[in-house]
Symmetry: C2
């Protein structure tokens, strides 16, 4: 019997877990109807298509959602909590029509200076903190927009986002570097090409990749690996300098986390990689617990 | 009467000057048949379409070309001269069919480490040096791929290229920042937003632009000006640190040179902006003089 439903509603995907009164996951569902493809009035029908079979009849089932569904152009805007803050803020109630639904969306985190926002990743950080409450260090969530959060005493004290994945896609797919970076891969080249510092602007190091190809040529997969090493290497170097921390937890896709692990190793930092789905669900469960505590105190 | 013809054949445009025996420009022509749109066998017909009317009958007229026509995929590959070097290298003869033509293309410059190449800009630098032979400092040629050359004792001793213009086009036209950077302009915002240093990686400062827009909103033209200030500001800061020089000459489009002038002023550097067409022609004339000197000694 479903007691409540946890959901991670991102730009391109919706993931749902049904949880019973004992806290056990009794069902799950996924949908490709991400926030990016929906107008506000399309969220409730999309949710019912994906999760309707998990909803008991005759009562309202609590649904707690994290992610882009809470953006300004999502289901209902859930705002941001300014750091320093616990990663699980107070959820916002969403008006719904179906009598089986009682929906709340978790807010994101914001930072005034340097300006930054996150939405969804704060719940993954909450999940990690639920498992290791004494964590003190950096949490890195690699992706299209990689998040780096400084976590201390159960709170996010500051964070930065690097749009490294998006730059990689733009440069490898649409620039004058595309011809030798669009395809292939060589992890040994990636590892060897990782630099920890460069005085030159990134725009110059990018052009050097092109010039190296013109002057010396590239082996299969070399150009793409060198581009990735430049972008991830400069991201990691800059972040290590900006957000200090001796312990780094990586949350995300294992193959991508592996690249960050190699780059962090260049700085003498050891990392632990956590399963992204597990911490997302853990963060939603922790947020639900906070919600119940708040409502009963 | 045309004595010889100077030409700057770039990726998107061809510019031609007819010069008489007294060194005076007696005619000119331009064509949109740039190197990027031509296969090797299409260059001679394209040249004749643009400049045929400037060629005297009954003799071979020397034609000296700089720019991308000398690239591997151009009319005929003219190679690179490795720096340190005088910017005008030995031109390469191009086989032609028309009996009125005697065509040579000037080589570009290359640098082994960090890898870099230029093709066309070296001739503009040669033109500046022809006018001011004692120049000692940096030459900056803003554009899609901005060139920075260290010039001393009549030679280019080193250079770097920053693909800042291309990054600006990619990010403002095709990224998640496009919605507030695709249009508008505000030079006061540009000037105020120019930063001289940032510890954070460029990919993070880019995302902060997006977050600032989400959190505070942007006035008309603000987003695009801030993006330009970030990219040009970080380019200039990095280049100033990498290629030392107290004197900076700017060669290029006046509106773009103005942005670099503002960024360089933040570092206490005064600049002189030179007319790009004048230095291109001056460089071709200087290269022709070197060619004649070499052939008679």
């Amino acid at each position: 019997m479903t007691d409540w439903i946890a959901a991670d509603w991102g730009t391109s995907r919706l993931r749902i877990w049904a949880i019973d009164a004992a806290g056990k996951v009794t069902g799950s569902a996924t949908s490709q109807e991400g926030m990016g493809s929906l107008t506000p009035d399309q969220f409730e029908p999309a949710f019912l298509r994906a999760a309707g079979h998990l909803l008991p009849e005759g009562r309202r089932t609590p649904v707690l959602i994290c992610g882009m569904a809470g953006a300004r152009t999502g289901w209902k805007e859930a705002g941001y909590v300014a750091v320093p803050a616990h990663p699980s803020g107070a959820p916002v109630q969403v008006p719904t029509v179906d009598p089986r639904l009682d929906v709340h969306i978790l807010p994101g985190l914001s930072q005034a200076e340097p300006p930054d926002v996150m939405r969804g990743e704060e719940t993954q950080i909450a999940g990690m903190l639920a498992a290791t409450p004494d964590f003190d260090g950096l949490v890195c969530l690699p992706g299209t927009h990689t998040k780096w959060a400084r976590v201390s005493e159960g709170r996010v004290t500051g964070f930065r986002t690097a749009m490294t994945g998006e730059l990689f896609a733009l440069v490898s797919g649409h620039s004058t570097l595309s011809s030798f970076t669009a395809e292939g891969w060589n992890e040994a080249v990636f590892d060897a090409a990782l630099t920890t510092t460069s005085d030159a602007p990134l725009a110059a190091d990018l052009f050097s990749l092109r010039a190296r190809g013109l002057l010396a040529g590239y082996a299969e997969g070399e150009g793409r690996a060198r581009l990735s090493a430049l972008l991830i290497g400069s991201e990691v170097s800059g972040m290590i300098g900006t957000l200090s921390g001796q312990r780094v937890a990586l949350l995300g896709d294992p193959a991508l986390c592996r690249l960050y692990e190699l780059a962090l190793a260049r700085h003498g930092l050891t990392t632990e990689t956590l399963d992204a789905e597990a911490v997302t669900l853990g963060g939603l469960i922790a947020a639900r617990d906070r919600m119940l505590q708040t409502s009963t105190t």
